[in-house]
Amino acid sequence: MRMPRHRANTSAWQISICIVVLSIWQWGYDLHARFPSLVPDLLDPYFVSKPSEIFEHFLILSCLKSKPGMFNGWLNGDFAKCIARNENNLWIATAITLKNTFFGFVFGVSSGVAAGLLLGRSDRLSDIFQPFITAVNSIPRIALAPIIVLAFGIGDTSKVVTSWIVVVFLVFFNTFEGARTIDEGYINAARLLGASEWQITRTVVIPSTMAWVFASLSPAISFALIGVIVGEFIGAERGISDALSSSPKHGRKPPA
């Protein structure tokens, strides 16, 4: 019975931390106004807004409310009208960003694994491409985002390509290292048993490398999202970064 109690304790701590952080965010600046010498000048609502205002704006941007205090009805069609009125509403913007992230992730992982296996298995190819890979990997990939947007336009393709270029090297290096660190004994044993190169790759190399590939999936999805967001920041027709950057563009108050 120790585990559920331990879990409940952990959850209680996590909820308490959330409440404390949100409370400081919500009322910290007001406290500073009252006691300037006691409370430091942090969390100016002009820059970081307040949780209550953010939640209110979230309801409006997601068409759940049309204006403060008025909820949009599902049955009378107000919600559908609001969604139709704003092409880049929060739901559609999030769905588009997620779609681009998914494709960037899938293409990045698949091409990274393929390239990693190919170069990890071949000493010759590895020697030839090593300096080029090191050189390309040294480029901060995010710096390529403007060029990618210029080349592929401001549509979804440029976001997928930006995401792909960020993910592919991460997965490639993990797969490459995985393919390089396989115990030669297994490969020699498979060769002795008469396995062809393809059979060795399929039955020895790929299963041994998979743990390395799986380990790279977690950072890869975060990097894929970062790639899409940066691509959307540079230039996008739609997506969540368009909503992120639209308030300063239109001269609106930055927060919320």
Partner: protein, 36 residues
């Protein structure tokens, strides 16, 4: 703007959770296949 930041944070958390489950599933699947 902060709405989008918060939504992105939630999206990131959801994606990470999904990938962690996928990783766990793939590792189980790999162990099962290697055992055979």
């Amino acid at each position: 703007m902060m709405v989008a930041v918060i939504v992105l944070m939630l999206v990131g958390v959801a994606l990470s959770a999904m990938i962690r489950r996928l990783q766990a599933y793939l590792l189980r699947w790999q162990q099962h296949n290697m055992a055979e």
